[in-house]
């Protein structure tokens, strides 16, 4: 297939996934902020949400302070923020439109329909007390898209590049959502594992729809290292870094088998995957959760570049 087509499919999937994850990050921020006010925590939760979303620089160029309104505006709909939910949907649609011939009719419907509906939102839909409806809508649309990919695309390279985009983006965002929690500074009188810490970790679980999975697997109260283990190392948890890398390495293998060649992307993906398979959660906490996540995000970005070099240009 055309390299440009593959590139557009890859980014279409990334942006649809990013829209969903931006909604999830905002939701985590919301839950944390709702607790923060209980202990007079001020606006630090929104500050950390913006850092975790990777939007710190752009945000503070426009806003002096991380209030709920400003954070929601910037992350949900600011056209100047290329990662805002509405920007993501717009970019996804642009990518889809550029390669319509490579999309199944249902995929196009999902993407184009999302874009049409997103255009109909009004200012009041983004107020702090109403934006949750938009966030639910975004998750729904993104699930619809991945559903269409799963049930209507031929299993060929077009599908594989789409899936690569989805999982690279998802791995990135799970790491970032975990990092939201890290970036929330606990009030000094709180201890790690204390009551507030507990609700915060629960908020993270809920944001990635993993609360029930947690109880199913661990059958005990929420512990920070177990939440981290679930979202980083457990292959049965579909948004975990390990699960994403099972998909990524398998997809890259299918591609290299079909094309009869391998490259740096395959090597790097294998290395990241091995690291996730053979690391224990104790080692991660030893190294520092935040440091681990930062390193992961960096290698994940590098992998994106390598995939691009190998196939998309």
């Amino acid at each position: 297939m055309l390299s440009r087509t593959a590139d557009n499919l890859f980014w279409l999937a990334r942006y649809m996934e990013r829209a969903e994850n931006m909604a999830r990050i905002l939701e985590a921020g919301y839950r944390l902020a709702a607790m923060g006010t209980v202990v007079g925590g001020g606006h630090t939760e929104w500050h950390s949400t913006i850092i975790a979303a990777g939007c710190e620089t752009g945000f503070y160029e426009k806003h002096a302070e991380a209030t709920a309104e400003a954070a929601i505006d910037y992350l949900a709909r600011d056209p100047d923020n290329p990662s805002s939910i509405l920007s993501c949907i717009q970019t996804a649609r642009r990518n889809g439109r550029a390669v319509r011939t490579a999309l199944s009719a249902d995929m196009w419907d999902a993407v184009n329909g999302s874009w049409l509906q997103a255009r109909a939102f009004r200012d009041e839909d983004f107020a702090p007390d109403t934006v949750r409806r938009v966030l639910d809508w975004v998750k729904e649309r993104s699930l619809l898209f991945t559903g269409c990919v799963g049930s209507t695309m031929m299993r060929n390279d077009a599908y594989w590049f789409t899936r690569l985009g989805t999982f690279l983006e998802r791995a990135d965002s799970t790491a970032r959502i975990l990092d939201v929690k890290y970036n929330v500074l606990l009030p000094t009188y709180e201890t790690i594992g204390g009551g507030l810490d507990y609700v915060q970790w629960t908020a993270v679980l809920r944001a990635v729809s993993a609360a029930r999975a947690y109880h199913w697997i661990y059958r005990r109260e929420v512990k920070p290292w177990l939440v981290a283990e679930l979202l980083i190392l457990k292959p049965e948890m579909p948004r975990s870094l390990a699960a994403c890398f099972i998909e990524i390495t398998r997809t890259l293998e299918l591609l290299s088998a079909a094309y009869g060649r391998q490259g740096e992307a395959d090597r790097l993906a294998g290395q990241i995957h091995a690291n996730l398979r053979f690391t224990r959660i104790d080692d991660i906490f030893q190294m520092g959760l935040h440091e681990f996540l930062t390193q992961f995000i960096d290698s994940n970005v590098r992998l994106g570049h390598e995939v691009s070099k190998q196939y998309l240009t």
């Binding site: 297939m1 055309l2 440009r4 593959a6 011939t101 094309y259």
Partner: protein
């Protein structure tokens, strides 16, 4: 202006092809039409059949209004048209070949030399170069208007990159979805074979150097082009790659496309980019849409371009005057379809007549398209006509003039109900090295404003489904 010929028939005298449609119009309440029209709009919007209008601001992806009352042609009417279209397309192709080779028609004194050799559309780069199958305009969109029961005139021969065929095909799809019962009561000839016919046409003109299955692609300027929807639609229906300039490159005079599996050779390019932008090394150096080296590869005979570079010499509005002569000269036949009588402002006596009769004529810029740069005399104000007269005097060779024809009307659903509106017809003629293919029908464009004769989509015109009934 005399009362226009109505294709359904005036008053009680309903014409044969329209019998069922006429009953349907009479028995259907207006609310149903209004409802169906809304449904049609939703379908068009959902499929994404939009049209970009430049420089107007607002919604950059506008819908072309679609009228739900079909335009109906009988089998014999169509057969007559189709023969005329095929004849015309053959003559146009023979003309293009001739002017880039022997120039017999010029030497015979039938077409003035200056009109060809000094024409902006005449490309020296094409002189002496023989294209596969001697086909230059593989896809011609020939605009036809009807004046009476048996009189059809050709308004324009679009020989470069005519568009609108996706409206013909999607319009039919939408109609079949909205009015299955109406189709059941007619026998309408299908148009859906068009993409297949186009692909067969493209494959028939693969360069001799191509030994395997020809690889055809569709070259588009990209998503910002007004006809992008059509480009992606056709590529999709034909099952060929939709490429942009940067997807292609030329190595050792061979054209390749960049794929995830490395370079892949391309044999036939259905290009929807204008000549000027095709190759920055040969034409406009600032073109980012084209492919550097494409013209060298083309002239080396390793790739076919459809339509051929330089084909525009045949659809110039001043060259148009000579098409009936081309039919006689190359084919030895009498033209089946008429030309509209046309005055050339380049000739002093004809110019004088035009300036004298501006209020009755349509004056067109020979290089204009899309309804821009024209004067519709009877609808223009005195001041507009005076201003246009100055333009004609300043550059007379730029203008031609034609009488305002009484274009036929068709029943059309407008705000006031069903009323007659003026229409034209653009059938798409496919010329291959093996044969000429025309699917029965075309794009009917309709001037939605009462009395208006301007059907261009950029000027507020709409489209209709065109039915050709089985004999």
């Amino acid at each position: 202006m005399a009362t226009a010929f109505d294709e359904m028939g005036n008053g009680d005298s309903c014409r044969m092809p329209y019998r069922t449609v006429s009953e349907w119009l009479a028995s259907t309440p207006p609310e149903v039409f209004a409802h169906k029209r809304r449904e049609a709009e939703i379908l068009f919007r959902r499929i994404g059949i939009t049209f970009a209008v430049y420089g107007e601001g607002g919604d950059p992806e506008r819908l072309i209004p679609f009228d739900i009352v079909p335009r109906v042609l009988g089998a014999s009417e169509w057969d007559f048209l189709a023969r005329g279209l095929e004849q015309r397309a053959k003559a146009l192709n023979a003309f293009i070949h001739d002017v880039y080779h022997e120039r017999a028609i010029i030497r015979a004194g039938k077409v003035p030399e200056s009109l060809v050799l000094q024409n902006e559309s005449y490309l020296k780069a094409m002189q002496g170069f023989s294209v596969p199958g001697r086909v230059y305009t593989h896809i011609a969109g020939i605009d036809v208007v009807r004046v009476t029961e048996n009189e059809f005139y050709v308004l324009e021969d679009n020989c470069r990159t005519p568009s609108g065929v996706s409206y013909m095909l999607e319009g039919r799809e939408v109609m079949m979805r909205l009015f299955p019962d109406l189709f059941a009561r007619h026998r309408v000839q299908p148009v859906s074979r068009y993409p297949e016919a186009l692909l067969e046409t493209l494959r028939s003109v693969a360069p001799p150097a191509c030994k395997d299955e020809p690889v055809a692609v569709l070259l588009t300027p990209g998503p910002y082009n007004s006809a992008y929807y059509e480009h992606s639609f056709l590529a999709d229906e034909m099952g060929v790659e939709l490429v942009e300039g940067p997807d292609l490159f030329v190595d050792d005079d061979i054209v390749y496309m960049r794929t995830t599996q490395g370079p892949k050779r391309v044999d036939v390019i259905y290009r929807r980019i204008d000549d000027d932008f095709l190759d920055p090394l040969a034409f406009r150096p600032d073109s980012a849409l084209g492919v550097p080296g494409l013209m060298r590869a083309y002239r080396a005979g390793t790739v076919t371009l459809a339509n051929a570079v330089g084909a525009g010499i045949a659809d110039d509005k001043a060259v148009y005057i000579h098409v009936p002569e081309m039919v006689r000269f190359y084919l030895g036949e009498e033209p089946i379809l008429k030309n509209v009588p046309t005055w050339s402002c380049a000739k002093p006596d004809e110019r004088a007549y035009v300036l004298e009769h501006l209020a009755e004529l349509v004056v067109k810029d020979v290089h204009g398209s899309g309804g821009y740069g024209m004067l519709v005399g009877p609808h223009a104000s005195k001041a507009e006509r005076a201003a246009f007269a100055e333009k004609i005097k300043a550059g007379p060779e730029r203008y031609i003039a034609q009488p305002t024809l009484a274009l036929s009307t068709c029943p059309t659903f407008v705000d006031a109900g069903v009323a007659p509106r003026h229409v034209d017809l653009r059938p798409f003629v496919l010329v291959g090295a093996d044969q000429v293919r025309i699917v029965p029908g075309g794009l009917t464009r309709v001037a939605l404003r009462d009395g208006s004769l301007v059907v261009n989509s950029s000027q507020g015109g709409g489209t209709k489904d065109t039915w050709v009934l089985e004999g």
